[in-house]
């Protein structure tokens, strides 16, 4: 039971950030690979200010401000740079933020991480924690679903399908992009409000590139731009990732388990892309 509660909490915690990222990468088709960079800013600004002020409320406000700033920075980069360049350089921004966390040891304790993070008052037991997280996530899904169908969602889709046409029709790219990145930022902030306090630890190793690959997998498998699809895929992939722990040892010897899991995930991702090859990116070929 406790284990399933844990899986429920992990899935619920992960959903806001993938759904938020879905607006940029899935619906907006923006090659943004720096989403984990936003998560780093959200998590560290939150936990550091919580430790200084002792108040979660203040900490969330400060973190929201910092997350908004980094989101707007990404959005500005996305507008300024060509799409390919942004794709690679957003990874560079992520890795740079990670390098800052690792090196600014006086502030972040670097590679040692910040242990002993308390839970919010009243959320100490897993049951209460699960209930709170699930409620927050349901609200999030509803919000994302509404947003997806709103003018903003349609503008974002129009821009992704034909940028110049939609701009000619009066859609302001800069505003829509800023909106999409802010929503992604809000998603990752929501996730990170719960993540570190659930683990009781904030550690840079949780914010590496593999975290992004996992999110991209959720979006690709769930159907880019689809709210319920991505939610479903996130849950399934988390269960799958954990489910692989139950592979019988006789099939996969312990010492080969690691590489074989890597192989398996690679294959799953390629199959997901193959099945979705028509819809991940809109077809835009002309002779």
């Amino acid at each position: 039971m406790a284990y399933f509660l844990h899986l429920l909490i992990m899935a619920a915690i992960t959903i806001p950030t993938t759904l938020g990222f879905n607006f940029v990468f899935g619906k907006g088709k923006i090659l943004h690979f720096g989403h984990v960079g936003t998560a780093i800013v959200a998590a560290y600004s939150l936990i550091l200010s919580q430790q200084v002020s002792g108040s979660w409320f203040q900490a969330i406000l400060i973190a929201a401000f910092c997350t908004a700033l980094i989101s707007l920075f990404f959005s500005w980069l996305a507008l300024k740079l060509e799409q390919d360049a942004f794709g690679i350089l957003s990874i560079a921004v992520h890795l740079s933020l990670l390098a800052i966390v690792l090196n600014a040891t006086a502030l972040t304790r670097g590679a040692l991480g910040i242990p002993g993070i308390p839970r919010m008052p009243g959320m100490e037991t897993p049951e209460v924690f699960a209930i709170v997280v699930v409620i927050v996530v349901l609200v999030w899904i509803f919000f994302a679903w509404k947003l997806n169908a709103s003018t903003f969602g349609r503008s974002l889709q129009a821009l992704s399908e034909h940028r110049h046409h939609s701009e000619a029709l009066g859609i302001r790219r800069s505003r829509v992009y800023a909106g999409a990145f802010l929503v992604a930022g809000l998603g990752t902030l929501t996730t990170n409000v719960f993540f570190a306090q659930y683990l009781g630890l904030l550690h840079p190793s949780d914010y590496g590139f593999p975290a992004l690959i996992f999110m991209a997998m959720c979006i690709v498998a769930g159907g880019p731009g689809r709210v319920f699809g991505v939610t479903f895929a996130t849950v399934v992939l988390i269960l799958l990732k954990e489910g692989l722990r139950f592979l019988p040892v006789t099939l996969v010897p312990l010492s080969l388990r690691g590489p074989i899991l890597l192989l398996l995930f690679g294959v799953i991702l390629s199959v997901a892309v193959f099945l979705r090859r028509e819809t991940i990116f809109p077809k835009q070929r002309s002779v």
């Binding site: 090659l31 980069l77 300024k80 740079l81 060509e82 799409q83 390919d84 360049a85 794709g87 690679i88 350089l89 990874i91 560079a92 921004v93 890795l95 740079s96 390098a99 800052i100 690792l102 090196n103 034909h162 940028r163 110049h164 590139f209 690959i213 991209a216 690709v220 080969l256 690691g258 590489p259 074989i260 899991l261 890597l262 192989l263 995930f265 690679g266 294959v267 991702l269 390629s270 892309v273 193959f274 090859r277 028509e278 991940i280 990116f281 809109p282 077809k283 835009q284 070929r285 002779v287």
Partner: protein, 293 residues
Amino acid sequence: MTQLLINALIAGSFAALMASGLALVYGTLGVFNMALGQTALMGGYVTWWASTSLGLSFPIALLIGMVAAGFVTWLSFEFFVEPFFRRHRFLPLVTTIALSMILDGAILLLFEERPRSIQFLNAEPVTIAGATLSLEQIVLIICTLIFLSLTAWVLTATSLGRKIRATVLHAHAAESLGIPSGLLYRITFILSGVLAGLAGVYQGIDQNLTPVLGFSITIKAYAAVIAGGKGSLKGAVIAAYAIALLEQLVIGVPWFAGTYISAGYQSTVAMVVIIAFLLFRPQGLFGSTTRST
């Protein structure tokens, strides 16, 4: 100072080998191959395996390594690029990330986690103009330059090169002139893999091979390709050397009143400079300003 330049030349040659192959592929197909770092490791590891476990002489081992790297890239093209890139050129970006995970797993299974180093020459280091470098490095740098010039020569002066360039400029028009673009795609793709494999061997000789660094190699090489201008071989190579020099300068020279920038920020500073550069010149060093869709 001379030493800094030499250091940059050593690090830059490795990056240039990677970046030139990428620039070719990016120029012809417009696709990203995120598994190229792993391909480089494959090339390096197979060469190591052939020379250490099979006891073959270095040139033959190198040849086997290159064939392996080329073969891996050819397979990646057939299974992870070809079925996708015509639908959208960004699809291979995702599929090759999947491929990189598969190759990571395969490298761990085949070659284990231990560091490996390829034995090549064992000679005393020499000192040139106050800078120290080993004979191996001189050979490596010169070989890299030869390979790069050879590639550049093929591209500019041969019929094959003209066909590749024609395909880069307009694939459909080139095809209607009877240029077999499918074959050219494969050739450039395999060539990029061989160049990456060479980079892997370079790494194995100069430092050592470990199975976990594939991804950061790829990112650095792409930064060079983007900074150099889309698909420009010349641009990618120059950018690769420039980034390497920048990285050495960042930590090798005192910046603020005699204090040094912490070495942990070495790559960060280089990346920030590239971003700033691209904000001023979005098309890169030698790119053209065409409107993208």
